[in-house]
Subunit: 374 residues, 2 copies
């Protein structure tokens, strides 16, 4: 701490401007002078000290993105997109992983880990209306990917209910009447899972089909291993499902592997659909039918809402009428539900950079904006 | 800024200790008092201000992990492990993504983005001896996953040359004499890729086989799409390879999809091996033979080296004789090289939490510590 460019300039016998040119690479400096400056910097242990400067004006230029875990490719991709959107506001993003644990999420709401952040983007798993109402920390907060009713915190999410309705509707349209669900989390689980389950059930009702609770086994973590384990349980039923909608691509990819290991042909014996459109599912064999949220729009909207909150910044949890943005989504129909011939031409591999782009032959539906159905 | 617990206590008409209990959840507080404190916190816009406290003692409690991108599951997993290892030192990890770009990596070496960090962990793609020698920023630095000769910066990596030697040796042991490479990056690419190529060539030499440059096409990014594109090029050769070693699992998974799309049977027509042991390759069909670096050891060693550098902290780039740690690795033999029957029993799916654990039936080799071969 405390070594200034002036100190370095004095030590090196050059101007402050020259030191600045070396440190910031802002203008060319002769090799001889450069080496003198470099030596002075090293001897004095110089470090740029923007943090103190930022603190003087009450901002650090850092926002925290709090999510369950970077191991999930969906959140890793979202983190990249948030980082890019935040960079346009001049922010650095600090990523904090909760493991989806309630105690860690509550700590975050109390301000732990936010000491250095101008604002918080939280992808919650356990946080609900009560936790938000109890919040004491005044750091500006935006919820990303989850909807908590009550209007106290700005939030951006896709229309989970409608998306699941479309996914199950697609499976029903293929003539599969016994449709299982992997990813139901029970009443204390995340609201997104509950809304997806409601959409699934609505699709069954609208098709005049019965609800069979055995086809909706409880699911723990959203990991490949859990998807494989729950699928094996479904296959042990007297009447196993003809199709399964998974509320996460990792669950679907685990289920796919377990189905293939069990000797099933996918989609002929079992059709599988996921949620999230991670790159993995564009390269699996078969490729994975999935709900593709507009992740870039999720990231951009969340950052824009946070910027507005930081600039306007009236208190934390006291105000009401906070904005709720609905990002669009599409159902990408691929081989895991319709087979190779129907899904695509000779090469079903999709270039990876076009996040949200459709496979050749994929069908799209439901890019919605407006109120979230509940 | 500037609202203290004392201010909040005065406003709420309670003791500072009571405010602290509410803010930190350190002791129970009656609902009535809790609500008074909560209202005072919201009205005053209180935020915990550990950053100023940290700066006074010259530490922020934050270390920066700089890596190419979180989109790569290998780096996402490494980021989680580094975050866990850092938490044991009481550090928060700020993650900065370079996209593998030389200009971004140089900015990091100049101290950009390190304003808030007590130290830097860098997973470099382009940084070499020259960039490290030119470094002006004195923030403690450790290289993770790359080896730069010269002894100026502490570093931890696996023995890339030996690992590639073993992977190619495994393919040769299956009777495949035409072995292609996906992931060669040319002389300006990362040193890890050059060392893997050297290991591959050594294995061919030791088996008395010729080097065929057509089997080693240049590879750009380490992404699934690139693996698929390069494999298609290899299949157009008059004499296509019988096996391919990929210097990254994403390349291998892209190549796998392209091979299956082209109607090849894997491993019968083409055996494929990767590098990195990402979870994806434990659930692909076929599962992926891969070099599994001891990622937990990489993370722990890197954090320990950084802790030593921060505590001891003599200058930045001036000192020499910095430690170089070699983390272990294993070759995990799975279905993509030996088929279903040879690779595993009835269920080849591996539980996901056991990072680095072997598949049933997988063979292990080469967990090395000691000097890095060069």
């Amino acid at each position: 701490m405390g070594v200034s460019l002036r100190d370095v300039a004095a030590r090196a016998g050059v101007s402050v401007k020259t030191v600045s040119n070396v440190v910031n690479g802002s203008a060319p400096v002769s090799p001889h002078t450069r080496e003198k400056v470099r030596r002075a910097l090293a001897e004095l242990g110089y470090r740029p000290n923007l943090s103190a400067r930022s603190l003087r004006r009450g901002r650090t230029g850092v926002v925290a993105l709090v999510l369950p875990g970077l191991d999930d490719p969906y959140f890793a991709e979202l983190a990249r997109l948030v980082t890019e959107a935040a960079a346009e506001h001049g922010w650095t993003v600090l990523i904090d992983q909760t493991g989806g644990r309630a105690d860690r999420e509550r700590q975050v709401l109390r301000g732990a880990g936010a000491q250095l952040a101008d604002g918080l983007l939280l992808c919650p798993v356990t946080v609900g209306r009560r936790e938000l109402a109890d919040r004491t920390d005044a750091t500006p907060l935006v919820l990303l990917g989850e909807r908590v009713p009550g209007g106290t915190v700005p939030q951006v999410a896709v229309d989970d209910r409608r998306a699941a309705y479309e996914a199950t509707g697609h499976l029903l349209s293929l003539g599969r009447t016994r449709v299982g669900v992997i990813g139901a989390r029970g009443p204390r689980g995340p609201g997104a899972a509950r809304r997806r389950l409601a959409g699934h059930r609505q699709a069954l009702r609208d098709a005049g089909l019965p609800q069979d609770a055995r086809l909706v086994p409880p699911t723990g973590t959203y990991r490949r291993a859990e998807g494989a384990a729950v699928l094996r349980r479904l296959l042990e039923l007297d009447e196993p499902p003809q199709a399964v909608v998974c509320f996460d691509d990792l669950l679907a990819l685990g289920a796919l592997r377990a189905a293939l290991s069990a000797g099933l042909r996918v989609p002929r014996d079992l059709a599988l659909a996921g949620f999230g459109d991670i790159e993995d599912g564009r390269y699996s064999t078969p490729t994975l039918t999935t709900v593709s949220p507009d992740k870039a729009a999720l990231a951009r909207s969340a950052v824009a809402l946070l910027a507005a909150r930081i600039d306007g910044a009236p208190g934390g949890s006291g105000d009401s009428g906070a904005p709720a943005v609905v990002a669009g989504h599409r159902l990408l129909v691929r081989e895991s539900t319709v087979g190779v011939a129907a899904a695509a031409g000779p090469d079903p591999v999709v270039p990876p950079q076009s996040s949200g782009a459709q496979s050749p032959g994929a069908q799209s539906s439901g890019s919605s904006t407006g109120a979230i159905s509940s």
